[in-house]
């Protein structure tokens, strides 16, 4: 797939390059290559923007910064220091990437910086660079910099052919990079960050590192293309690069084309450049930006997913519209020239693709082999072992099943956590041994979920220590804790919405404790889906499955990281009794594979059925700890649940 795809890029490059090399033999007017150069420049820029902002969802208004650094590097090195143009391009790319890493280092260090705050932060960057360039006479000094014309090979007829070829190299490299990223771990990591960053981190994705990588790639491509931009405009000024025009264009292009796919920015850039060119040529220059603004405002509301995804659904209709409109206009020949006809055809195709229609039919639901019938509540040892037996080597049951507990796996010492002045947990000490299935219960607000968040690293304790498998985890990033062997589910399931059920699980395998390549991970995902009886829905999207199935998916994903200890945070909330019984059976099966489980659950009936041990929290402190029967008859526990006098009356 990957190799074939990249081979395609080489072919595309060769074909497009031939247009410039043999342009005069082909009789192609230079005008077309100039237009193509513009399109290629924007393809590179939009693709650059999309690697960070589209793939990972960190929306940036700062694309001008990368273009500017690239353009100024080439202009200053070439124009003031006589450095050879070819040398300035890589230098420009590297400078721009370094700037990107600086911005990323600042922005991604602090967690909550998604959405508008990140957007505003990146908005400020070009303004700062513009001020720096204006002040520093070594760079610009408010005068602008002239870019010397680079020498071009003699086998090219004109300078424009040369520019076209340069833009082609950068654009094809950029799109190929975006393609490659999308089809490797890197792209999967970015997609998971876009869909649910916390969850991705908790499943073992090193989110900070991937975001830094993404912004560096964005900077690298943006800078290289910016370097060519300098050559193209010949005279670099602060206004030409650091304004809001460049971010506007790349955002509109990517939103129009679609942000989740490498092809999106390409489609968007081509359509926008064509529209812009025809508007200008027809004397509607003043309408250029109005059309652009309208496309952005309308698309964000009407079709935020963009052209690409919809084109896949109506490829033939789009092709027919393109050919028909272009063809009819060519035959009638009453208005404009060939390019006008073609652009009219493209617009017709875009209209057909974006036309609101019926929502795509949900993936066909194959009958569930076993989940349709609620799984018997009392799964006996034999069945549990058997069901995990065909679930692949990584889930083979080991010796630690119910009752047989092993060494200490989790050790909390005097763990305290404050929120502001409120003590959510107050000096809790707790040991969990391998093979246990611990029920964590307590009234509302007793600190159960806080404890789960501390164990998974989502929160840090105010004081106290937590060790898992002998390793101190306090202060470790959640993805590291995942690699130590802690995995969790969320009370409200948070699947990666853009991925199928199978790929949700494959994600966790790819980035879990023993990392796997995608193909192997998809293979292994089947086994995890079998454990929770979701195999029949493997190809469905999370939006198409019900709450019960989403909660099962949550569990499948959690066990796919191959945890030592699994934290189930109210994994049964909102289910009906039959679904609860089915879910209980699933928890048993997971436990039978040798995974230690901590389950937070309101329904004491369920906890009693499942747990080998029950821990009761009340007002942030440990109230009781022991086997279910004893704990449930503990007067203190009953009082915590029923009220002050309950213990006095008894039953």
């Amino acid at each position: 797939m990957m190799a074939r795809g990249l081979g395609g890029f080489v072919l595309a490059f060769a074909a497009l390059a031939a247009l410039a090399v043999w342009r005069e033999d082909l009789g192609l007017p230079i005008f077309y290559l100039v237009l193509a150069s513009t399109a290629l420049f924007w393809i590179a820029q939009a693709t650059s923007w999309n690697v960070l902002s589209g793939y990972s969802g960190y929306f940036s208004f700062g694309q001008g910064a990368f273009v500017g650094v690239g353009a100024y590097t080439t202009a200053v090195l070439g124009g003031r220091h006589g450095v050879d143009f070819y040398l300035t391009v890589p230098v420009a790319a590297v400078f721009s990437a370094l700037l990107a890493l600086l911005v990323g280092g600042l922005a991604f260090r602090l967690r909550s910086f998604r959405g508008e705050i990140f957007a505003l932060l990146t908005l400020a960057v070009p303004f700062i660079l513009a001020a720096l360039a204006r002040v520093n006479s070594e760079i610009d000094g408010g005068q602008g910099v002239v870019v010397p014309v680079a020498e071009y090979p003699e086998w090219l007829a004109q300078f424009q052919d040369f520019l076209y070829l340069l833009n082609l190299v950068v654009a094809v490299a950029a799109v190929a990079a975006a393609f490659a990223i999308q089809h490797t771990r890197f792209g999967w990591a970015l997609a998971s960050i876009r869909d649910a960053e916390d969850v991705a981190e908790g499943l073992g994705v090193a989110t900070f590192r991937y975001k830094m990588l993404a912004i560096a790639v964005t900077g690298l491509i943006g800078g290289a293309a910016g370097s060519l931009f300098a050559l193209q405009i010949g005279f670099v000024t602060v206004e030409s690069v650091f304004g809001l025009t460049i971010p506007l264009f790349v955002i509109v292009m990517s939103v129009l084309g679609g942000r989740a796919h490498w092809l999106g920015p390409v489609l968007g850039a081509v359509v926008i450049v064509l529209i812009q060119d025809r508007l200008s040529a027809s004397g509607f220059e003043g309408w250029n930006l109005i059309v652009l603004g309208a496309i952005l405002a309308v698309l964000v509301v009407v079709a935020p997913d963009g052209l690409q995804a919809r084109l896949w659904r109506r490829p033939w209709q789009a092709a027919v519209a393109l050919v028909a409109v272009t063809g009819v206009l060519a035959i009638v020949d009453g208005w404009g020239g060939p390019l006008d006809w073609f652009v009219a055809g493209v617009l017709a195709a875009v209209a057909v693709v974006l036309w609101p229609g019926k929502a795509p039919a949900p993936a066909e639901r194959r009958p569930a082999p076993s989940a349709a019938v609620p799984v018997p509540t009392d799964v006996d040892r034999g069945e549990a072992a058997e069901s995990s037996g065909h679930s692949g080597p990584q889930l083979r049951p080991n010796s630690t099943i119910d009752g047989e507990v092993g060494e200490v796996l989790v050790e909390c010492r005097d763990v305290t956590r404050y929120f502001g002045g409120v003590r959510a947990l107050d000096g809790v000490s707790l040991q969990i041994r391998a093979g246990e299935l611990v029920g964590l219960v307590g009234p509302n607000g007793s600190g159960k979920t806080t404890l789960v968040n501390l164990l998974s690293g989502a929160l840090r304790p105010t004081s106290g220590s937590i060790a898992v498998a002998g390793r101190d985890i306090v202060g470790l990033a959640p993805h590291r804790i995942a690699h130590v062997g802690v995995s969790r589910t969320h009370q409200i399931p948070k699947p990666f919405e853009s991925m199928t059920v199978r790929d949700n699980v494959a994600m966790a395998i790819m980035f879990g404790r023993s990392a796997r390549p995608l193909a192997a991970a998809r293979e292994e995902a089947q086994a995890c889906l079998d454990v929770v009886h979701l195999r029949h829905l493997a190809d469905a999207k999370p939006a198409e499955i019900n709450l019960h199935e989403r909660q099962l998916l949550e569990m499948a994903r959690a066990i796919a990281t191959k945890p030592k200890v699994l934290l189930l945070d109210e994994a049964l909330a909102g289910l009906n009794p039959a679904e609860i019984d089915a879910a209980v059976a699933v928890v048993r099966r997971i436990h039978a594979t040798g995974i230690t489980i901590v389950i937070v659950e309101h329904l004491l009936r369920v906890v009693n059925q499942l747990a080998t041990r029950v821990v009761v929290l009340n007002q942030g402190a440990l109230l009781a700890d022991g086997d279910p029967r004893t704990v449930m008859n503990d007067p203190d526990v009953i009082r915590a649940y029923l009220g002050r006098h309950a213990h006095a009356r008894g039953t």
Partner: protein
Amino acid sequence: MLEVRELEAWYGQAQALWGVDLSVADGEVVCIVGPNGAGKSTLVQSIAGLHRSTRGTIAVDGVDVARVPAHRVGDHGVALVPEGRRVFARMTVHDNLVLGAYRRAVRPGLSAGLDRVHALFPRLGERSSQLAGSLSGGEQQMLAIGRALLAQPRLLLMDEPSLGLAPVVVDEVFDAIRAINADGVSVLLVEQDVERALEVSARGYVLAEGRIVASGSSAELTGSALVRRSVLGL
């Protein structure tokens, strides 16, 4: 006063209530008890108009309010003391109380209402200009109750008023419930402290897994094994 019939409620695809019937007579205190996650809060929020994914009827004085938008439910004499208090933390105590009387119909009663609340909870009067966020949990609960009283309700919905409070404070809150009821306000009380809830109310319902599993006078329910089992979720 309140007559709920065949109420079902959903969160997306997850059904939280299954055919709930209950009633509150004029001047009555009725409690709903049950384990966490049984749907008690959903029930109260559905009556208050805050949860609108429902089927069934919610009649207040004979008028079905199940389709009335949330900001119009108050017009029918219903006010809410929400779970977790949810006072407006960045506003003063005074402003929180005034906001209770936001609806035009009850604005004329503002100053009388403030006097009444200050008499009920003298501490709120002392802290009038303090930010609500800086109050203790118990004071915030009093403020949440006071805010609801300024809406001049005939039916007060109280969702877990004792949650997270020290026992002494809980006593105060329950004394206030009695005082409010003595003024003729009906109260529907959702409470995890079963004993206290049954003490203050005339009748009770036990809600478990989204269904009413038992109901009766508080005397009947007090100490009943069924109640104990449902509340413990056994």
